[in-house]
Symmetry: C2
Subunit: 166 residues, 2 copies
């Protein structure tokens, strides 16, 4: 709608960022998706049914040994275009003010996204997956095996997100 | 056993790290746990039943608005003492060589751990949680709401970790 997608909306609050960083990351690959504009990305991972490709830097390819035995993986990636100073946000599709740590918004002090993806295929340093919703060419920072025993909490509730009874 | 816990074991393989970093992190708080030595930490999050405290930097405290409505949160933290150049590892308790991305080992190019924790209480910038297994004083890098709809995959399998039939 012409609104700056990286700007600050009414009701949103920023803080002053720390003077210095504390640690540093390597991009270890790129995520290739069908979406090149933010407004085209699926609203959330549940709606993300497109096949995406994770292109791992060949330097790290040996690190995939055993990954092919996983049905699902945890993918961490870096949302490099997000602002990092928002503490209170008003997501457009909810319209209510919430804390950054109560949201999965890309705007956060460390713009790391976590998605659980279904692993379809591994070929050399390329993984085909379903379940990602990020922009094409998003930097990859980690891949982990998903363990249902510790990672799957089917009874978990996000209270503010529950359907209203009225 | 006197072995350097941060060293390289037989069967493990390292790569040359990239010349430069690509992005930087802020520590946004600290995780207080009962474990001050690596050998005292629980072997995995399923065994981690102790009450731990997440101390968020007061700068970010407003970002917790709404978090109290979550039963579970995703906690990302930085395993600052881990080596980052291992691609193949031989975890002591399995004894077989596997790729870094098939393991939840702290040694990885970007030593970010992801744990799902049960939220017990939020008081100002302190969260009481159960389910973390890290060393006391571990740097916190993110907190996210855990959505069962996208994060809980109870049928997920890590093939190499399945119990053997014999």
């Amino acid at each position: 709608m012409g609104e700056d997608p990286f700007g600050v909306r009414k009701g949103e609050v920023t803080v002053e960022l720390p003077q210095a960083f504390d640690a540093s990351l390597y991009y270890i690959g790129r995520i290739r998706t069908p979406w090149t504009r933010r407004e085209d990305c699926p609203k959330n991972a549940r709606e993300a049914q497109a096949l995406c490709t994770i292109e791992l830097d060949p330097r790290w390819a040996e690190g995939l040994k055993g990954v092919e035995s996983c049905t699902h993986i945890v993918v961490l990636y870096w949302m490099d275009r997000s602002r990092r100073d928002l503490v209170l946000q008003v997501p457009r599709h909810y319209g209510e003010q919430r804390g950054t740590f109560a949201l999965r918004s890309p705007a956060r002090p460390n713009p790391i996204a976590m998605s659980v993806a279904r692993l379809i295929k591994v070929e050399a340093a390329r993984l085909s997956v379903i379940g990602l919703d990020c922009l094409d060419n998003t930097p990859l920072i980690d891949i982990k095996p998903y363990f249902a025993s510790t990672d799957a909490i089917s009874e978990a509730v996000v209270g503010w997100h529950q359907p209203r009874k009225d």
